[in-house]
Amino acid sequence: MNILEIKDLTKAFGGVVAVSDLNLSIREGIIFGVVGPNGAGKTTLINVITGVEKITKGSIFFKGSDIGKLPTFKRSLEGITRTFQIPQCFTGLTVFENILIPLLLRLPKQEAQLEAARIAERMFLKDDLNKQAQMLSVGRLKLLELAKAYATSPRLLLVDEPMGGVSLDMMDSLINLIKSLRDEGITILLVEHVMKVVVALADELVVLNFGKQIALGAPQEVMKRKEVIEAYLGDEYA
């Protein structure tokens, strides 16, 4: 069963086409990797799926229903949540409050507080619970970013560059964490440019270049294709 279907999706900014006639089907319960060089339209894809940007042409179906016109917050309530490449936390609030806020929208206050503590523990943020978010390191902010998104109980989680600016140790725990989220049944769309990470994590991979799909399939196999190597390294290496 496909959790997300994208049909003939085009997103243009004025004359610049960021995503062009894209067709994607994402099976439920997998990690779906999206890679491509800078400007390939990866973040735009996330913005369009979450409704931050309006679709120019085409449609998006989530669990079978057309969500192309829903505002961002409704999509989140339906089960589509994202993380941001540059963490967008409530920097003046504590880690606990950051995780609590999405839970309060969905649960009674007391349950939400218990759940927030549980999520913090699960996301290795237990020691930072009462710290202000602005005091956290980049790596910890990335964790908080994931924790907040996880607290919305998403069915589809769009993760934008989780490894950017993260130390190597932290990278391993993030990889395990993202895997465990998938094993819990959350479908994950992962945008990441650290190839090692994508190949380790993704069950299926799409490569974008200039907003177009140039390859789709199992990660190991896709990365060997001529057009993918060309897109990344230029013609002379192909």
């Binding site: 979450t50 931050v52 505002p71 961002t72 917050f73 409704k74 989140s76 309530l77 949540t81 994202r82 941001f84 967008q88 936390c89 409530f90 920097t91 003046g92 609030l93 409050e97 609590l100 806020i101 999405p102 309060l104 929208l105 969905r106 206050k109 007391q110 907040k148 998104a149 607290a151 919305t152």
Partner: protein, 314 residues
């Protein structure tokens, strides 16, 4: 949990009841000037609290509270002038009419994010003032409107009555702020004020919460205007839409502690009496003082007096 939310409300109520006995202890007849200051303090608490709910709780800076106050003041005055309503009876309507204006401005200003809201509220304040000046057949223009409040429930109008009414209105404002602060809504306000993109991505309908904050705030500011026009007994465009009603609540909230329930109260109780004395000796110098203190606090003590004492909210 329940206890924790009830306690501050009980304390507020007890304070209000105790303060209501003030006229029996200090005679309003012989201390007219003092009661005048009491009244101004109460009304300003209400106005600053109103601004803080929008600017402090929800992070939407209003530069238009003078407009809300003016609309409230003119609602009472014009209902009295054209339809001979008792100003007391018109008081709740001052809030309602102001809220209607806020519905219009909110639907325009919140289409966009960023500084547009602050600018739109400023525009609202100026437009309403120009209308009050220009629509002479309805508002009497710059000539102004006289309001003569009769007795309220057979209590003669005077220092004691104004004190008690304004005290309970201020209490009502604080209660509103307290109820928000104790509810889940305060977290959504905070989230929207802190980072709207993040709030949206987590499922928070940011526009809804901004509008709620605006509606509550404008209602309270409209009531402030209404009770001011009852007390002054006269309203004209320059007094009703005085820029001071925009700047004073910002100033007092910043000094007391933005985003806290007690901040605007502390700021007002500490500074308005000083300001009043200052004003009577050096007219308009208080504006200079406001400007300097505002800059100093915003720049160096952004959490205000409340931030110096406590870490936690309320």
């Amino acid at each position: 949990m329940q206890n924790r939310s009830v306690k501050p409300i009980v304390i507020l109520f007890v304070c209000l009841v105790v303060l209501s006995f003030m006229p029996f202890i200090i005679d309003p007849g012989s201390y007219k000037y003092l009661y005048n200051i009491f009244f101004i303090v109460n009304v300003t608490v209400l106005l600053a609290t109103s601004w803080n709910i929008l600017g402090g709780f929800a992070g939407q800076i209003s530069f238009g509270h003078a407009g809300f106050v003016g609309i409230g003041a003119y609602t009472v005055a014009l209902l009295h002038y054209h339809l001979q309503w008792s100003p007391w009876l018109a008081l709740p309507l001052a809030g309602v009419v102001t809220l209607l204006a806020a519905v219009i401005i909110g639907s325009i200003a919140f289409k966009l994010r960023g500084p547009y809201f602050a600018l739109s509220t400023l525009a609202l304040a100026e437009v309403t003032k120009l209308i009050a000046e220009g629509w002479r057949s309805f508002t009497q223009g710059t000539q102004g409107v006289v309001v003569s409040p009769g007795p309220l429930l057979s209590i003669p109008s005077g220092g004691a009555l104004y004190f008690v009414v304004s005290l309970w209105l201020a209490g009502f404002g604080i209660l509103c702020a307290l109820l928000i602060k104790l509810s889940k809504t305060s977290y959504f306000f905070l989230a929207v004020g802190e980072n709207e993109d993040a709030a949206l991505s987590l499922g928070i309908n940011s526009k809804k919460y901004k509008l709620i904050a605006l509606y509550i705030s404008s209602f309270l500011a409209g009531i402030t205007g209404g009770v001011l026009s009852v007390h002054t007994g006269f309203i004209d465009p320059s007094s009703g839409f005085d820029m001071v009603h925009t700047v004073e609540p910002i100033f007092l909230t910043m000094v007391g502690g933005i985003g806290t329930v007690l901040g605007p109260v502390i700021g007002t109780v500490l500074l308005v009496p000083v300001g009043e004395v200052f004003r009577s000796h050096f007219p308009t110098a208080h504006l200079l003082l406001y400007g300097i203190v505002l800059v100093v606090f915003a720049r160096f003590i952004p959490k205000g007096i409340m931030g110096l004492f406590r870490k936690k909210k309320i």
